[in-house]
Subunit: 411 residues, 2 copies
C-alpha cells in the first residue's frame, strides 16, 4: 500500500502536477495532487488505491495475480475498481498538459488508501485539509458502460439508517398456558406493523417530508433504464413479482426515487423443528430504512423513535447500528451538462445518466458539490471477482472523456 | 411397567373387583376393572401407572428413589401424580365394599401405562373396548388442595391448534439494495398482524363463534380464584403487567374463558450481531391458538387458513403441527353437584371448583361424559420434581372423598 502511494505521487509529479502524501497515523496516506487551470474553477478526482475484497465468499483472497493482457483486455485484480479509472485521470491530465501546455480548469486528485470499507480516512482528510480538498465539483470513480455498451454516469447514491429493535416482555420464556402474560413476539410484530403497511408505505410520521421530488428529466432518465427492469432479476432471484406487482418504469421509479424499509431479520422464541409451547421472553428485529436524496439519517432515526413512542411502543428499544446520508446531484448542474456534451464528442452518443445509484456511497461527504461518476469499465468487468478486467478500448475512451469534461466544464 | 400392571390387577381383584389387562401390542397394557353397583349408573376412574418425566431439564431421570415416610408425608417419584391418587380410589372402593357389601353406583377403573405424553393408548383403548370403557361420568386424576388448603376440582381443559406459517419470497437472500424485491419477513409480519390485533382480539373470522359463554356460576368460581392472580406471577416472570393491563378477576376470566393466540417463535433473515444488508428469502412462525370449550381444532384450523386466503396470504403455507380439543363439564352437572355435596361432608368446606384448567388434557376423549378431577395432593406436592410427595392426611381425606362421591352420585 505504501509503495503504491509513493508510486502515485511520483507518477503524478511526472505528469506535471504538484503531488504529495497526506499522512494518516491511523491507516494509509492519501495521495494528493493539484494543478491550477486557465479558469479559476477546480474539479476534484475521487479515487482509491486499495483493492476491494472479493464479494463472493467462496473466493479466498490470495497473492496478487500477474497482469494479463489478451484479446484487447487487461486482467488484474482491481483493474476496473479502481486502478484503471484512477490512472485514466492521470493520463488525461498529463495528455492535456503536454498537448495544450495548460489545463482548462484546475484539477485536484484525492486517492485514498482505505483499510476497510468504512474507513474514516475520507472524513479525516476532509476535516484536516479543507483547503486542499476544496473544489467546485467532484468526478467520482466508476461509471460502467451498460449492457448495451452505452456510457453511463451516476449522479448520486442512496443513504440508510440501520436499526435494531428490541423488546423484552418476560425475564425468561414461559409456558404458553400462561396466556395472559405479555408476548414479546407479538409486541415486535405490532411494532413492525406500525412502521410500514402492505402498500409499501412507510407509516413513520414525516418520513417522506424531505424526499427530493424527481424532475421530468429525472423520471425520463429512469424510465429509459426501467424498461429493462424485470424478467432478468425476477428469474435470477425467484421472486414472483416486484413489490405491489409493479413492473418496468413504475418499478424503476420506486427503486431509485422512493425511500423504503426492509426487515433484514427477526429473532423471537423457538425456531427449531416441531412445536414448543412457549411465550418468547424477548424479540428483536433488524430494520433498514433506505433513504433517498434530502432525507437526513439522524432526522429519520428521531422520527422513527418518536413514531414508536407515539404508537404505544415507547418500551421497544431502538439502537441505530449505522447510517449513511443519501446524496444526489441535480441533472441541471453545469458539471452534468459538461459531461453530457463531452460524451457526445467522445462516444458519439448520449451519456446514459442514472440520477442515483441503488447503493450507498460517501458522495454525500462532498455535498453540496456536484459529483458525477465516470469510469472506464463495462457491464462485464467482473468487479470483485478473480477475472476482473477492463477493455483497452474502453479505457482509451474513458480517458478522452475526462479530458473532454475538463474542456466542456471550462466553457 | 408390566410388573406394576400385574400388581394393580391383583390388588383390584383382592379389593373385590373383576380386573384384567387390556393388552396393547404397541405399548403397555391398560389395567381394567369393574364392579356393578346398586344403581345402574357407572363412574369411571381415570388414572395412570406410568410416572411423568421430570419437568426441570436440570434433573436427570435416574433409578427410582426409595419410598420415604416422614413428618406425615410420603416421598416418592410419582406418589402424587398418579400413584397416590390411583390407589386412593382402589382403597375407597375396597372400603365401601367391605363395610357396606355393595357399591352405591357401578365403578370402572382404566389405569393407563403411557410410553410418552402423547401416547395413542387412550384412543386405542376407547376405540377397541367401547363397552368396557362406557360410563355415565369420569372421575379424572388430580385435584390438588390449593394454597389455602381448600379442596379443588377441575371440570375441563383447554385445547389448542399449533401451526407453522411459512412464506418464501426469493430463492436465496438478496442484497437489500434491491428494494423492489418482495421481503419474506414483511410478508410474515403482515400475515401475523392479520391474525390478532393489539387488543388481544383474534381477527380470524368466526374464531369466537363456538366459544362457550360462561355462566354466572362459572364467573363466580373464577372471580374467587382471580383475586389471587397477580403479583406472584408478575414477580416470578418479570412481566410488567398482564395483557391489556388487566388484573385480578378480569385477568382470570380472560385466562380461563377466552381463547387466545400466541406467537411461539419467528425465524427470518439475519439474527447475528451487527448489521447485514439483506432481504430474507423466507420466514416462518410458530403460532399457537389456545382454545376453550366448544371450539373445534379442525374447524379453527380451517378458519385460519380461510382467513389467510381472504386477506391476501394464500401464498403463506400453513402446516398444522398438532392439536387437541378443549372440553368443559357444566357446573350444573349431577356429578359436579355430587362432588360438591361430598366435599362438604368430608372436608367440612366448599369444594373450590375450577371450571377449566389452563392446560390441555385428553378429557375431551371422554366427551360428552362429565369429568371431574379429584386428587389427594396439595399445592406444595412438587410434582415432577425429585422431592414429589403427598401428605398422609390429604390422602385419607381424598380417599373418603371418593367414597362420598359414589354415595352422593347415587342419590
Amino acid at each position: 500500500m505504501h509503495a503504491a502511494a509513493d508510486w502515485l505521487v511520483a507518477r503524478l509529479a511526472a505528469a506535471g502536477l504538484r503531488a504529495r502524501l497526506l499522512p494518516n497515523p491511523a491507516g494509509f496516506p492519501t495521495v494528493f495532487a493539484e494543478q491550477a487551470g486557465r479558469s479559476p474553477q477546480t474539479l476534484l478526482f475521487f479515487n482509491h488505491y486499495d483493492i476491494a475484497a472479493y464479494t463472493n465468499p467462496l473466493v479466498v483472497d490470495g497473492p496478487t495475480l500477474p497482469v494479463a493482457i489478451r484479446d484487447g483486455r487487461i486482467y488484474n485484480r482491481g483493474v476496473a475498481d479502481d486502478k484503471g479509472c484512477c490512472f485514466s485521470r492521470i493520463a488525461a491530465v498529463e495528455a492535456v498538459l503536454r498537448s495544450r501546455g495548460e489545463l482548462p480548469v484546475g484539477v485536484k486528485f484525492l486517492i485514498f488508501g482505505k483499510r476497510k470499507p468504512n474507513d474514516s480516512v475520507i472524513d479525516d482528510v476532509l476535516a484536516q485539509y479543507p483547503q486542499e480538498t476544496a473544489s467546485d465539483g467532484v468526478l467520482w470513480e466508476t461509471g460502467a458502460k451498460d449492457d448495451r455498451d452505452r456510457p453511463t454516469a451516476s449522479l448520486g447514491a442512496k443513504g440508510y439508517v440501520y436499526v435494531e429493535l428490541r423488546t423484552r416482555a418476560l425475564r425468561t420464556p414461559q409456558p404458553s398456558r400462561f396466556t395472559i402474560l405479555p408476548n414479546a413476539a407479538w409486541d415486535l410484530v405490532w411494532a413492525l406493523g406500525a412502521l410500514k403497511n402492505d402498500k409499501e408505505r412507510v407509516l413513520v410520521e414525516g418520513f417522506y417530508d424531505d424526499v427530493m421530488v424527481p424532475t421530468a428529466e429525472d423520471l425520463e432518465a429512469v424510465d429509459e433504464f426501467g424498461t429493462s427492469v424485470g424478467t432478468e432479476m425476477l428469474a435470477r432471484t425467484g421472486a414472483r413479482a416486484f413489490v405491489l406487482g409493479e413492473t418496468g418504469p413504475q418499478a424503476a421509479r420506486r427503486w431509485l426515487f422512493e425511500p423504503s424499509c426492509a426487515i433484514c431479520g427477526i429473532t423471537a422464541g423457538y425456531s427449531g423443528t416441531g412445536e414448543r409451547l412457549v411465550i418468547p421472553a424477548e424479540a428483536s428485529a433488524k430494520v433498514e430504512f433506505r433513504l433517498v436524496a434530502r432525507q437526513d439519517p439522524d432526522d429519520i432515526a428521531r422520527k422513527v423513535r418518536a413514531h414508536l413512542d407515539r404508537h404505544g411502543f415507547a418500551h421497544v428499544e431502538m439502537e441505530v447500528l449505522s447510517h449513511t446520508a443519501p446524496y444526489r446531484t441535480l441533472m441541471a448542474d453545469p458539471l452534468v451538462q459538461a459531461a453530457k456534451r463531452a460524451a457526445r464528442r467522445v462516444y458519439g452518443q448520449d451519456l446514459v445518466i442514472r440520477p442515483t445509484s441503488i447503493g450507498m456511497s460517501p458522495k454525500y461527504k462532498f455535498a453540496p458539490r456536484p459529483t458525477v461518476g465516470l469510469g472506464v469499465e463495462y457491464a462485464g468487468a467482473q468487479l470483485e471477482e478473480p477475472d476482473e478486467h477492463i477493455r483497452i478500448a474502453d479505457w482509451l475512451e474513458g480517458t478522452k472523456m475526462i479530458a473532454a469534461v475538463l474542456e466542456e466544464y471550462a466553457r
